[in-house]
């Protein structure tokens, strides 16, 4: 009974420590480029972003939200991938797999726009229309897929080749079907008989390759390994009073994300972010609240070793911050080393050691807490002096 109680207390301790550590963690994700820059700059949730896949869907979306193109939409965010929307029929699997600069740039490009309405601060009665634009693309996206992905793709390709051979033989062997095709070529307006026959033929065709293809392609992740370099940019244009003649850029940002991913589970990620806010509130050296333009530059890196199908993860992370305008604060940096061993998805031992932005050395994680706990066991109980 005592052992069971101690075990549950230990499990509870690990789980709680993990949740606590996650909650307190400030990491490189803070600097990560937003998935949809225009929507993120206006504070839209990614789930409300409209992502039409083709031109007709996009036009329908625009017409619908603008009341038949009669004005600006209200609270609307959209993202399009022009390569897939406009030239998707020209992108074959070879071009999808390629790592050429033009293929990466074009296929990875997304353009986003968002429109929001609010009230201007400090004059909260004045309506403020904000229009945001965003751009994202990949310059390098990894030179190949992971071995696991390649293996599944190769199996799927073999199954598809066999299926094509079987289907071709099946169609060729049916002379009635072939005759119907000949007739339809001569009389293109009379294809009803061909369509009926064809439907029955396809319904009765069976091949085990269809099952193999589904197994190989279902939940297939197109993980790439190698160098990756992504560029993201976005800006917000304010229209006070909703007038087009009176506008200003209220926020702008550029993100550059790079990294290298190896097959064995080692990856390196670097991020640089430059943000401009021409009309921001900040506190000066004397602690007085000021309003004006601020420009900030942040950079960070993360190196992770997380071997596939192993329980441990080791990572190191560094962040650098500098307010370039106004030049009031010195640059600062933070460094953290993390080690983690997972017993289960919700339970792990972790340890972190590093230096915070203020120069204070930090040691954290439930390993440190556990060591403190264990060293406390068996100590002589302090007695009150009589």
């Amino acid at each position: 009974m005592k052992t069971t109680t101690l075990f549950f207390l230990f499990v509870g301790f690990l789980t709680c420590s993990e949740l606590y550590a996650q909650h307190r963690q400030v990491n490189l994700n803070m600097l990560a480029a937003p998935a949809t820059p225009a929507a993120a700059l206006l504070g839209f949730s990614p789930s409300v972003v409209d992502k039409p896949r083709d031109a007709s869907e996009f036009l329908a979306s625009v017409v619908n939200t603008t009341g038949g193109l009669s004005g600006l939409p209200s609270d609307y965010a959209v993202e399009i991938a022009p390569a897939w929307m406009l030239t998707g029929h020209k992108i074959d699997s070879k071009r999808f797999r390629s790592n050429k600069l033009n293929d990466n740039f074009w296929q990875g490009m997304t353009i986003s726009a968002a429109v929001g309405h609010s009230e201007e601060v400090p004059d909260s009665l004045k309506p403020l229309t904000q229009v945001a634009f965003g751009f994202k693309t990949s310059i390098l996206r990894g030179h190949r897929f992971s071995k696991k992905t390649e293996e599944r793709l190769a199996d799927a390709q073999t199954a598809l080749r066999n299926l094509n051979t079987k289907l071709k033989a099946y169609l060729d062997a049916d002379l009635e079907y072939q005759q119907l095709i000949d007739n339809a070529i001569d009389n293109p307006t009379d294809t009803a008989a061909l369509n009926r026959y064809r439907e029955k033929m396809y319904q009765s065709f069976e091949a085990e390759e269809l099952q193999q293809l589904e197994e190989n392609l279902r939940d297939l992740r197109f993980d790439r390994v190698g160098f990756k370099l992504d560029l993201t940019a976005g800006l917000v244009q304010d229209f006070p009073g909703g007038r087009f003649g009176n506008s200003r850029v209220s926020r702008a940002g550029v993100w550059l994300t790079t990294g290298y991913e190896w097959e064995q589970g080692f990856s390196f990620l670097g991020i640089a972010r430059y943000l401009q806010n021409p009309d921001a509130n900040y506190t000066d050296d004397g602690g007085t609240l000021q309003q004006g333009r601020i420009r900030t530059f942040d950079a960070g890196f993360r190196a992770i070793f997380a071997p596939i199908e192993r329980r441990f993860t080791v990572s190191a992370e560094g962040l650098y911050r500098k307010m370039t305008e106004p030049d009031l604060l010195p640059s600062s940096w933070r460094f953290t080393f993390n080690a983690e061993y997972k017993f289960s998805p919700n339970m792990c031992l972790n340890f972190s050691y590093g230096r915070d932005f203020d120069g204070v050395v930090t040691r954290d994680g439930n390993v440190i807490a556990l060591l403190s706990l264990f060293t406390g066991f068996g100590n002589t109980k302090p007695m009150m002096e009589k």
């Binding site: 896949r53 083709d54 897939w84 998707g88 029929h89 020209k90 992108i91 074959d92 699997s93 070879k94 071009r95 999808f96 793709l153 799927a156 390709q157 598809l160 080749r161 299926l163 094509n164 051979t165 289907l167 071709k168 169609l171 060729d172 002379l175 072939q178 005759q179 095709i181 000949d182 339809a184 070529i185 293109p188 294809t191 061909l194 064809r198 439907e199 396809y202 065709f205 091949a207 269809l210 099952q211 293809l213 589904e214 197994e215 190989n216 392609l217 279902r218 297939l220 197109f222």
Partner: protein, 126 residues
Amino acid sequence: MALIPAFPILGKCPLKLDGSPLTLRVIVGQGQLNEGSYDIKATVKSPPSASGIVQSGLPIALGADTDLVGQRLSVLITVAAMLSLDTSITVDLTGGKTDIHIVNATKANQIGDVVAYEAYFRFTKT
């Protein structure tokens, strides 16, 4: 798991009959996994005078138009939906009196489905 037949492409390809080389090129779009094959036959019962595989984007030399007149070209492209449900093929047949350019698109029901595209062209004098 389904095999979806796309609407077949059917047509005639009038030839110049001056020995011009005919070229077939098929592009399978949307980055999807694909396999293709083709053959050329004089009649539905006769053995193929030419056959082979079709690779997306690669032109196939079918031969001189004087050798192809009266025969029928059959193309079968199977496309597995792996990136999205959208599938499409573009068929270009050049070297005849007019160049043929056809785009056909069909949506799969789920990832892993296979869309079968068939294209048939008869080479004619007029």
